[in-house]
Amino acid sequence: MNPFRKLDALVAPMDRANVDTDAIIPKQFLKSIKRSGFGPNLFDEWRYLDVGQPGQDNSGRPRNPDFVLNQARYQGAQILLTRDNFGCGSSREHAPWALEDFGFRVIIGPSFADIFFNNCFKNGLLPIKLDAAEVDALFAQCLGASGYRLNVDLETQTVTRPDGKVIPFSVDPFRRECLLNGWDDIGLTLRHADRIREFEARRRIEQPWLFA
């Protein structure tokens, strides 16, 4: 996993609530057995005017000019600003894979769906929860000025606006540590292998029917 420390980047606003993982990456692309290459199909049904197929060359497909990520002013955005309950629905990790592959590293919103939120941290993607009023203000600024950028610092746990206002955010210390260092969860967990074996041995005695 790529570590995440600091980022100063362009912001793209996705001004709708309940953006679900079917919208983030539609089902036909879930047939891939790889972890990469989902970026060109991020938000496929909103981004293109035709129906995309896996393995297709996307360069010549008709784009929806109204879709926010197709607009010139948001090209190169690495921070996505969004509304409540982003990432709801399916557990597909293809959703954070697609966002990351497209170039996003940070998603800011008032709330996120649980499984999606969790999946982000496994892929070097930082979801930041801010108060609804702060998010409203960011939307207003972002929509009001071309080239709107934010500075995100995971070490100090702050988002800094261009006008200098510093917004603190909270993040689980364990997740923060993993993301700052790009640590692999499995390696960390296996440090406790003896404890897992002990637990399992006790369970085998107490509830033998679970070990068919």
Binding site: D22, S91, F174, R195, I196, Q207
Partner: protein, 469 residues
């Protein structure tokens, strides 16, 4: 000892280790695996030179990509076929407690085959790379969906990194009216608390109306806990739970059965246990439900109308409603029972079990689908459900009514196989998500119960199943 909720009992009995910030290592008893979210996990394991920790915790099947007809022709779509074959070879290499591959007589939707084979038992932690894993909570399991990185983590360590959830009790008391089912109850709950209402919580469903439901009804309720934002749904163990599990293939036997049952009987919230949130519903006032929008919380009773967004004060919500109505091709204040449909889908991990098929067949018996309904698809949840339905003659009732009787799988719930909606088509569906494009790009999904789906097929529009004699 302090009174505990069911969730707290399940949680504390699985904690292996806790970090300073409360992040815990939770032991996983059952790992359900399917073809879509596992290939990258198997590959990751292999690349790191790791072996699975405990292969006898794994129960696997192919369900999302499999076709529902012409099985003799195999899987036509080469990309789907490759994904299913990848699961075949991964399981062949790694092993499993049980594998029900494409065409196996016990193959089916992963959340149907776990319980019906007794591979889901009370007190277990159950995970699967699928959000509808919450289904298994009907058996007082701590069951939730995980991402592919976590699938790999569970394979490698038999554990999951988790923060303890908050607890919510959703209590539904009273008697459900005739024609009102578990699906209507859970849609009414989601209508009440919203699709993010359960975020951060494990929801326990209780009250006399929940206790009166069969295990299959309870699975329908827990299945859609995730649609309320909760990763896990729970129902306490009672006589029905125990009776359902007796003599299932992987259920304990003899001495072990007695020991297991004695433990299972402790799996309920203690009197006086405190929940972080409590929501109460009166069962008697719940009517058959139909969703009208593109989120499961956008739901109304069959005798109600499509709402008017101009009456919504919250601007973000109002825009969401307007966008949903535009996508769905509906006008505000349209009576739900005047909305005509093009297709019907009866199936999915929410509603494809034998009782669901019986309820739909009861409505379809001696009737015929309306001329404007192009397709009414019945997809049993598993090979065993299909065989049982055929033994009861349900297949013949459906076929005589002009419905199609198919092979088991996820099918048009998410349309990864060939079963899908065309752009603009409107569907009465017993599945769990009405998101844009969920059943096919441009398709319009209305979530309903199996009986209401059959009633819609017969009427050609949404119809109140309570008024069908």
């Amino acid at each position: 000892m302090q009174a505990q909720t069911l969730y707290e009992k399940l949680w504390s009995s699985h904690v292996v280790h806790v970090e300073d910030d409360g992040t815990a290592l939770i032991y996983i008893d059952r790992h359900l695996v399917h073809e879509v979210t596992s290939p990258q996990a198997f590959e990751g394991l292999k690349l790191a030179g790791r072996k699975p920790w405990r292969v006898d915790s794994i129960v696997a099947t192919a369900d999302h990509n499999t076709p529902t007809d012409h099985w003799e022709m195999g899987i036509q779509d080469p990309v789907s076929r490759q994904q299913v074959e990848t699961l075949d070879s991964n399981i062949r290499e790694v092993g499993a407690l049980a594998y029900f591959p494409f065409k196996d007589e016990r193959q089916g939707i992963v959340h149907v085959i776990g319980p019906e084979n007794g591979a889901t038992l009370p007190g277990m932690t159950v995970v699967c790379g699928d959000s509808h894993t919450s289904t298994h909570g009907a058996f007082a399991c701590l069951a939730h969906g995980i991402g592919t990185s976590e699938v790999e983590h569970v394979m490698a360590t038999q554990c999951l990194l988790q923060k303890k959830s908050k607890t919510m009790l959703v209590r539904v008391d009273g008697q459900l009216g005739a024609g009102v089912t578990a699906k209507d109850v859970v849609l009414a709950i989601i209508g009440r608390i919203g699709t993010a209402g359960g975020t951060g919580y494990a929801i326990e469903f209780g009250g006399s109306a929940i206790r009166s439901l069969s295990m299959e009804g309870r699975m329908t309720i827990c299945n859609m806990a995730i649609e309320a934002g909760a990763r896990a749904g729970l129902v306490a163990v009672d006589d029905q739970t125990v009776a359902y599990l007796k003599d299932r293939p992987f259920s304990p036997r003899g001495d072990q059965w007695d020991r297991a049952v004695a433990y299972w009987r402790t799996l309920h919230s203690d009197d006086g246990a405190v929940f972080d949130a409590v929501v109460e519903l009166d069962a008697a006032v719940i009517k058959p439900q139909v969703t009208w929008g593109t989120s499961p919380e956008m739901v109304a009773a069959i005798d109600d109308c499509v709402p008017d967004p101009t009456l919504e004060k919250d601007p973000v919500k109002r825009e969401g409603m307007e966008r949903a109505l535009q996508y769905m091709g509906l006008n505000p204040r349209t009576p739900i029972n005047t909305i005509t449909i093009d297709k019907v889908f009866i199936g999915s991990c929410t509603n494809s079990r034998i009782e669901d098929l019986r309820a739909a067949a009861f409505v379809a018996r001696g009737r015929h689908k309306a001329a404007n309904v192009k397709l009414a698809l019945v997809v049993p949840g598993s090979g065993l459900v299909k065989r049982q339905a055929e033994a009861e003659g349900l297949d013949k009732i459906f076929i005589a009514a002009g419905f199609e009787w198919r092979e088991p799988g996820c099918s048009m719930c998410l349309a990864m196989n060939a079963d899908r909606l065309e752009p603009g088509e409107r569907c009465a569906s017993t599945s769990n998500r009405n998101f844009e494009g969920r059943q096919g790009a441009g398709g319009r999904t209305h979530l309903v119960s199996p009986a209401m789906a059959a009633a819609a097929a017969i009427a050609g529009r949404f119809a109140d199943v309570r008024e069908l004699a």
